[in-house]
Amino acid sequence: MVTALVSVDSRRAWRIAAQVPDPEMPMLTLADLGVLRGVEIGADGTVVASLTPTYSGCPAMAEMRAEVAARLRDAGFAKVEIRTVLDPPWSTDWITPEGRRNLSEHGIAPPGAAPSGPIKLTLSPTRRTVPCPRCGSADTEETSHFAATSCKALWRCRVCREPFEYVKEI
């Protein structure tokens, strides 16, 4: 019986933590982004939420940590602990299908499959196709590999002429 209650509680704690929006891409929740790695309730009732940073220097990490803790406390969980998980490192492959849909709907192109294995240097122009999130055209080009946040690149569509952001795969 006690076990059943704990599991009901931990599901509720997960739902609360999972709904926290990403501070820089608020159309995504932390669960959509794949940053929330787990929520557990310990024997003494402490809720332990595990978060993984997207990039080493991501300045949003402190905000995410504080917001998850605050929402769990507001929901009545008295003891909350946030853990940083570094291993395995975050990958854009962890962005959920729902999250990818939300990015597209907000004009941000979602990432393709992340590279795996040893990282090779390619000097020939890479023909990556990133469809325009507004008009769907594949006739797009990169304008800058780095953009307003660590995780995005700047692209532009040659057909509808709109610039757009693209979450680069990592």
Partner: protein, 278 residues
């Protein structure tokens, strides 16, 4: 809510775990909640020194990259260089935090970044050389990111400390982007105008004497990194000259005269207000 006083209203109702607010929250640990145990058989002093040196490389590089802000040739390049610097600063924080856990002093990242003098830094000297022109900065970025990527890929699978291995695995993904960016620029500059080629050739000549100390006695690492650099210089129509290395070694505390002024700028605010919390 004390709306009439902005600091009071910001500080209100936030306990120590709430690290969002800039003031009054104290030290924010980037390794918060990570298991700190040092594996048996790992030499703590050696591990701490290694983390510190890798952190010093990244901090000094990040500071040099930040100096391009408002001075880069185009807005896109400025954003790129600042982004790369931010990644390196993130790596610095993780590495300093690990060093503080392991060296037994429990020091935080600020103690390493702001309250050590140039003589205490152990970065490779290539990182501290002044920015020069865009060609020099980009060529240096190519060399440093190629080297650091090779090192981190190896550490990710072989480091005896799981925290260092995790920091390296994460950092490697970022460094791959840095190397790609720098490599594309070196090819463009080398294969560009007479002027851009001349400047990039000069950059390679100025960098060459500082390449040797990246590898110390590690022949395998040297071969791997030099092969990547050759791939880029071949495509750019350039050559990394083989020259006698400068004497001394940054890892042993040998410095150029350029580090102290860089640190003076980096550390001035923290040293003027040593009790402040950010």
């Amino acid at each position: 809510m004390s709306d009439d006083h902005v600091y009071l209203s910001l500080a209100e109702g936030h306990d120590d775990s709430d690290a969002r607010w800039a003031f009054g929250t104290g030290f924010e640990d980037p390794l918060h909640g990570v298991d700190q145990t040092v594996p048996e058989g790992t030499d703590s002093a050696q591990l701490a020194a290694f983390c510190l040196a890798l952190g010093d490389d990244a901090l000094v590089s990040a500071q040099r990259l930040a100096q391009w802000c408002t001075a880069a040739p185009e807005l896109e390049e400025e954003v790129a260089l600042a982004n790369i610097g931010l990644d390196l600063l993130g790596q610095t924080r993780l590495l300093y935090a690990r060093a503080g856990q392991v060296d037994g002093t429990g020091r935080g990242e600020d103690a390493y970044a702001y309250f050590r003098d140039a003589d205490d830094f152990r970065n490779v000297r290539l990182a501290e050389l002044p920015n020069g022109d865009f060609a020099f900065s980009i060529t240096r970025l190519l060399v440093l990111s190629s080297w650091r990527l090779a090192l981190f890929e190896r550490l990710a699978t072989t480091a005896s400390d799981p925290v260092l291995a995790a920091i390296a695995a994460k950092g490697a993904k970022e460094l791959a982007y840095h190397r790609q960016y720098a490599a594309e620029w070196v090819v463009r500059l080398g294969d560009g105008t007479e002027e851009s080629q001349r400047r990039t050739r000069d950059a390679l000549a100025a960098i060459a004497p500082y390449v040797d100390e990246l590898f110390a006695d590690d022949g395998e690492l040297r071969t791997e990194v030099l092969a990547v650099l050759r791939q880029v210089t071949d495509a750019a129509g350039l050559v990394l000259p083989e020259v006698a290395p400068v004497p001394g070694h940054g890892r042993d505390g040998d410095r150029t005269e350029h580090l102290a002024p860089l640190l003076a700028e980096l550390q001035s605010v923290a040293r003027a207000h040593p009790e402040a919390t950010w």
